[in-house]
Symmetry: C2
Subunit: 495 residues, 2 copies
């Protein structure tokens, strides 16, 4: 049998910053794991080991004891310590070495491959440059009020609410949202029907998982929101695009009726990305279709609260008498994105299924934000903030349209802007809008091409451009740079 | 054609609290939606309508205008207003009436039916009575410190971090966790490998979706954590229980090796529910098995940080050289449950797949809690809190064992308690532990039967009993009541 003494010559240099004890422990452990010291092999006594290495016996003793406690060594200290005979005899592990590049990518499932191809940026430094879309102006948020409510909650309720909470959400927030919706959207719901999520994506994902079997069909606006397309596709559903015109989802020709069609996703108040508002007759046709198909409609009201022009139409959900519509809203765009709160209004009787699925896949959303937000709504700050933001975004939308007319007339045709944070502008027919967006990106201008929203029908070439975070100066300056890029591209295209 | 004037006689009584305008709007809208007023039908002029109903013409005008804006009516006000001819001619919607009970349950997908059967309570008032399991003692949490850090963050960083954040988590928190794990668990990871979730369930769910195809097999400890069983089953995987003894997962007979076996779930530090610590030779056997199967191991270290007795073993992950182990931890049990923060350490190179899947199904976890927690760790409060909790839980574990010996000897056999928040106690062979738990529940004692953790092999009858939140008095008092129930059951059983 090889004697443990030989091991000593293999002791590496002590790494800087490591204690003697730590270093000795690592060396012995590594020798065992790599198979250099075999199972059952006898080690020198602590006395011999200490003498040979000129270290204190106490240090050796401590290392032996730790390795015994962890199962590397066996036997009473001092009387014949051996490498644990229970360990496998062959080298159990390869020597530590960096794995070859690429070898450590996970072997993904079929669904995993779809989930690993997100349309959202994985890294986001939060920087907002013109004309980044979907961004509320967080500098206009009443942060002192929010801070005050946070502090109040920390000092009063938090101590009573540190335990687990309801899976469907924090009860006061569910009440506050139901009341807001009854008033602002004419949705006759009660708090029990409101489910709290951390984001619209999470709500969409849970809808897909609860309602769709692989092979089912979902109707989507085309062009439409890519986050929804991906969610339904990864659930194994097939996605069928329904053409969109300036009024939103077309219901003529009639929507297809077939048993496997289980869901439709619509942005009725403000179509993403073409910004139309679905007229009443189409809303009624959509509800009739859902009855005929025994299907469910997800109404994503992602920024409908920011209507600054014209009379608001109540939510599609307000017309729903047969429990067909799931109404979805998000506070991340109404207040600020790092907040991460959204909600779904479900038909009466559906709450437990959603709450159960949430408790399995998330447990519940953190209580703190929910509590502060419920106070923010109850105390009237939410309604006041919405009113102020409607004025602000309305004036910025006008600035944006004026600046575009002044600088990019004939190159960018802005569709009517009545709601929300972004404008949609069409490019001349035949333009490659992805190439335009890339060229703009090189000049520091963010623009999202309409082709990004495509489902199956070709989308008209165009750009989604956010105006919400920029004052008149920033808008005109950004528009100036955009104009230069578009003119240059036109010269190249025309030459 | 029926004249609109006839409609007037059908106007219902004005509900209390409704304005005249709101009431008139609702009545007309309802008449149109219910088909009482047909598409194309002419309405009286505002002048006639006002005179007939003895209301001001201005009110009628406002209601007509709103209904025109919303698409119910068509035509210039005053010159021949009609019900919009675009609306469907047949009654588009049934009259508003409560839907028959039960008719509004959602039609769930196959996966949806599994998700709708959660092992977690949907409603939780946070009340902790003896011997509720899995509960940290939140009264021992340094809330003033947490409040101070919250306020500091609100006043300093929050204004800069209101936008979207990284899908994988808040960078400073990922750094703080990696550093903590390098020190406390000897896991050689860097911040890039740490992914932040809102809960262990969310992390488990995403692992299942990314790594499992329907029909794949997952090895689970039997008895084992029900939250994991459900997650893998709803992903379409088949679950195979591996027997557990006092040392945890048995690796002898050897674990099965087959191509469809993709995942194993283990609680190596502290087996849930039988509380053993997996010895080194089984850890090495498990890693070898994962290499042989090309499988992944999820190591759920749900309360291993609370080891108060004996030398801690480093995490299984610390032995992982081939990127086989996903290490999972949660702050909800270490700090307080309403916080909702957990993490996963993934092999180098796996981060983007997990971050992408998170961005699709959740976007990211709220920043506020992540930021406060990272300061809590960096400033040393986390390590200090863990040390204090180890002492506290250690002394309560002793109290619990003493009280059980004194009151329930021969009826409850407490397994060694070295870690965590709960004790596991065996009942005499042949006892129906669910019936015992139900009987205890009627006396206000919470106890979770071991059969709750069963996968496929029969579990020994027993109870999981939390000691973590109760002082000596509460423990003895609860044990007294428990003793009475057990004695009564024994008398019934023996008679």
């Amino acid at each position: 049998m090889k004697l443990a003494e030989e091991l000593e010559f293999a002791l590496g240099a002590r790494p800087p910053g490591s204690t003697l004890q730590r270093w000795l422990y690592s060396e012995l452990r590594e020798a065992i794991l790599s198979g250099r010291l075999a199972a059952g092999q006898r080690l020198p006594s602590t006395r011999d080991f200490a003498r040979q290495h000129k270290i204190s016996r106490g240090t050796v003793l401590a290392v032996y004891e730790q390795l015994i406690a962890e199962g590397y060594l066996a036997g009473a200290t001092g009387s014949g310590t051996t490498v644990s005979p229970k360990l496998p005899n062959k080298p159990p592990l390869k020597p530590a070495a960096p794995a070859p590049a690429g070898a450590t990518l996970p072997r993904l499932s079929q669904q995993g491959r779809l989930l690993a191809a997100s349309p959202f940026p994985l890294r986001d430094n939060g920087v907002v440059v013109p004309f980044r879309a979907n961004q509320p102006d967080v500098t206009a948020f009443p942060l002192p009020t929010w801070r005050r409510l946070s502090t109040r909650y920390s000092r009063t309720r938090l101590v009573h609410e540190m335990g687990n909470s309801d899976a469907a959400g924090y009860a006061p927030l569910r009440h506050a949202i139901a009341e807001h919706l009854r008033f602002s959207q004419r949705i006759a719901c009660d708090a029990e029907q409101v489910i709290i999520f951390s984001s619209s994506q999470q709500a969409l994902d849970l809808c897909a998982r609860l309602l769709l079997d692989p092979g089912d069909t979902v109707l989507l606006e085309d062009p439409g929101y890519p986050g929804a397309q991906r969610i339904f596709r990864q659930a194994g559903a097939s996605v069928q695009g329904v053409p969109v015109d300036v009024q939103g989802l077309r219901t003529d020709p009639p929507l297809p009726v077939a048993p496997g069609i289980r869901l439709a996703y619509v942005t009725a108040t403000h179509q993403a990305p073409l910004s139309g508002t679905l007229p009443l007759e189409r809303r009624l046709a959509l509800l009739e279709w859902a009855d005929a198909c025994d299907a469910t409609i997800i109404e994503d009201d992602y920024d409908g609260e920011f209507r600054f022009d014209g009379m608001p139409l109540p939510a599609l959900k307000s017309l729903d008498r047969n429990g067909r519509v799931l109404y979805m809203g998000s506070f991340s765009k109404l207040l600020f994105p790092s907040l991460r709160l959204a909600y779904l209004v479900v038909p009466d009787g559906w709450t437990d299924a959603f709450a159960s699925a949430l408790s399995m896949t998330c447990r519940h959303v953190p209580v703190f934000q929910q509590a502060v937000l419920s106070a923010f709504i109850e105390d009237g700050h939410f309604a006041r903030h919405l009113r102020q933001m409607r004025l602000l975004y309305g004036s910025r939308a006008q600035e944006f349209q004026r600046a575009c007319k002044a600088r990019c007339d004939g190159m960018l045709d802005v569709l009517p802007v009545s709601t929300g944070l972004d404008a949609t502008a069409l490019l001349p027919a035949g333009t490659d809008d992805s190439a335009v967006a890339a060229a703009l990106g090189q000049q520091g201008i963010m623009a999202r091409p309409l082709s990004f929203y495509r489902v199956q029908h070709p989308a008209p070439p165009g750009l989604v451009l956010g105006f919400s975070c920029f004052d008149g100066l920033a808008i005109r300056e950004g528009m100036g740079r955009m104009g230069e890029v578009l003119e240059r591209l036109r010269r190249i295209g025309g030459s």
